[in-house]
């Protein structure tokens, strides 16, 4: 059955269907509907919703709950995610699974409550202190938002890591029809690292402190091996209109990829061969898939709602190639026609040369 839902609410409902029974959060626009949905629904199904006194407290409640074996999540937006970074670094080091949602808004600082993709650097570089990475999934529709919640919990538990689900103010606020994922029975996790009282066994410790530098290096190498495995096995991307040679390959993620997709259709009607490459995992970045897709393109254009953040990963993946960039900031959405004009300019510019 298809239903109409706001992105934020679809995300919350999908999390419940994925077995999430604990939510700790703090209100911030434009993600508040997610929190309100949890406040309404969790008590009805025997779960726990708690409005924390701050984003800092919320993420640490997540830490405690994850260590106690719960399927747990928190959500926030830009400024709130910055406050959670201390906790995310600890979660990464302690190897505790959880899902953290960032419904991005314009920054820096308080910025605006309008959509943005300005948190790409923070999301994909770990964000907090120390050497660590967090898997980052970026949906581009309400349906995909719901679907990727399941993926996020699975990845979190399989790899014992916090997973970041990165959406934005448009995806969170817009309504679309979707098919809600089937209810999944929560896995009653009796994992051998959970601290729930040492009855009949040796005690367990959840910790991040390694005073011996060799022990800390060994811990870091262990974490890095996990990130290498993620980079090998959990890379996701989508292509559109990539058949044969292309004049321009557009690279875009999240809501921006929606506008780019429309632009590809319109450009093709006008006879310009355009294609779209959309990373679904922002980290690990689908560099090899992008390289393959870009082989058949004369030009590559990266489009983002920021000053040029993912474009750095695109340049790394396609080293040596000239990459065009178009971005908007301040919470302004890029339109399909804006992208079309940019593609035409790049394409014509090369023909004139």
């Amino acid at each position: 059955m298809r239903v109409m839902m706001k992105g934020n609410e679809a995300l919350a409902e999908a999390a419940l269907r994925a077995g999430c029974r604990y939510y700790f959060g703090y209100p911030i626009t434009p993600q508040t509907e997610l929190m309100e949905y949890m406040a309404r629904r969790l008590p009805e199904i025997g779960g726990t919703f708690l409005q924390a006194e701050s984003e800092v407290a919320a993420v640490n409640m997540v830490y405690g709950a994850a260590g106690a074996g719960a399927r747990v999540m928190t959500s926030s937006s830009g400024p709130g995610i910055s406050l959670k970074q201390e906790g995310i670094s600890f979660l990464a080091s302690a190897e505790l699974p959880c899902v953290i949602v960032n419904v991005m808004r314009g920054g820096p600082g308080l910025g605006t409550i309008q959509p943005s993709q300005g948190d790409y650097f923070q999301a994909t570089r770990g964000g907090g202190h120390g050497d660590y990475r967090v898997p980052v999934l970026a949906p581009s529709s309400v349906q995909e938002t719901a679907d990727l919640v399941f993926e996020s919990f699975d990845l979190a538990e399989q790899y014992r890591t916090p997973v970041l689900l990165l959406t934005d103010g448009v995806l969170g606020q817009m309504m679309e029809p979707l098919r809600l994922p089937e209810v999944r029975t929560p896995r009653t996790s009796r994992a051998p690292w959970i601290t729930d009282g040492c009855k009949g066994r040796q005690r367990r410790i959840v910790k991040t402190l390694y005073l011996d530098p060799r022990a800390l290096e060994a811990h870091n190498l262990h974490l890095q091996a996990k990130y290498a495995q993620l980079a090998r096995e959990e890379v996701r991307s989508e292509v559109y209109g990539i058949d044969g040679g292309m004049d321009v390959l557009i690279v875009a993620f999240g809501i921006c990829a929606r506008a780019a997709r429309t632009a590809v259709d319109n450009l093709r009607e006008k006879g310009l061969r355009a294609g779209l490459f959309r990373p679904v995992t922002l980290w690990p970045f689908p560099g090899a898939a992008l390289e393959a897709a870009a082989l058949a393109a004369r030009h590559v254009l990266t489009v983002e709602l920021n000053a040029g953040q993912m474009v750095e990963d695109v340049r790394l993946a396609l080293s040596g190639r000239e990459i065009a960039f178009h971005g908007r900031m301040g919470g302004i959405m890029i339109t399909a026609s804006e992208i079309e004009a940019e593609v035409q300019r790049i394409s014509e510019g090369s023909e004139a040369a």
Partner: protein, 267 residues
């Protein structure tokens, strides 16, 4: 020494304490371990270590434990307790951790009436980083960041955490004890025991503030440090029970009793 004092509590591991000579953490750890043993809680308890000298408490207590970021132990404990309401969850925090960076977390955990127990060690300075001024540093007390003595016109006044938290509706038991002589150690243990019992009976938030010595950072001999706790610290931080909503006389009272608030504090 009584016979009991010579027997290592089951909850205490065989690891040697790393604490400085004359530091109160060893005694406080032991008291917590004895209480957990005596109440038979070892296998159903999850402890939360905080940042500070006692961050390594998980090396000494033979329990499931989580280490938490600086000041966040009450939030971590909240997460654990909400998932495992039938377990005993306690935090062990210093004064820099609880009264400064973690003030928000402790106040709100207390205000929620979170059914956890907090052991709060107050030694009037930041021990781990080498004796800096804490929110609990006494007026005139010299520390590495108040080298001329704490000047209240610039640094303000110390926080009395037990009194502050006792003013909230959420907690059921708030007490302050000290470790400067054997009689006080016995009293401190009684307070810790009562705090854990409050939680076991599902009554709500309990906290014991323990005045403890830090001879190394205070630049004192251990015995002089104990005297300083007894004379100087207790003058600023009086010992006693600041809130006890477990006894019937207080329950029947009007102001501050738990019966007043119609919605039951969250469990």
């Amino acid at each position: 020494m009584s016979r009991a004092a010579s027997i290592r509590p089951k909850t205490l591991t065989a690891a040697r304490f790393h604490y400085c000579p004359g530091c109160g953490h060893g005694v406080a750890h032991r008291l917590v371990a004895e209480v957990i043993d005596e109440l038979g809680l070892r296998e159903k308890t999850v402890g939360v270590a905080s940042v500070g000298c006692s961050v390594l408490i998980y090396n000494y207590l033979d329990l499931d434990m989580q280490e938490s970021p600086h000041g966040r132990a009450p939030a971590v404990a909240t997460g654990i307790k909400r998932v495992l309401p039938d377990r005993i969850v306690f935090t062990y925090q210093g004064d820099g951790d609880l009264a400064s960076i973690g003030l928000s977390e402790i106040v709100h955990a207390a205000a929620r009436g979170e059914n956890i127990t907090v052991i709060f060690i107050n030694n009037a300075n930041y021990g781990m980083t080498g004796g800096q001024m804490a929110p609990t540093t006494l007026p005139g007390q010299k520390t590495t960041t108040s080298p001329a003595g704490r000047d209240v016109t610039r640094a303000g006044y110390p926080l009395r955490m037990a009194e502050l938290l006792a003013g909230l509706d959420g907690p059921v038991y708030i007490a302050r004890a000290a470790l400067y002589n054997p009689a006080q150690v016995v009293r401190a243990k009684k307070c810790i025991r009562k705090a854990f019992l409050c939680q076991e009976r599902g009554m709500g938030f309990s906290l014991v503030e323990i005045l403890s010595s830090c001879p190394n950072n205070w630049g004192m001999e251990p015995t002089a440090a104990l005297r300083w706790v007894e004379t100087q610290m207790t003058a600023r931080y009086p010992l006693g029970v600041f809130k006890d909503a477990t006894v019937p006389t207080v329950r029947g009272d009007t102001a501050g009793s738990r019966e007043d608030s119609s919605p039951e504090p969250g469990k």
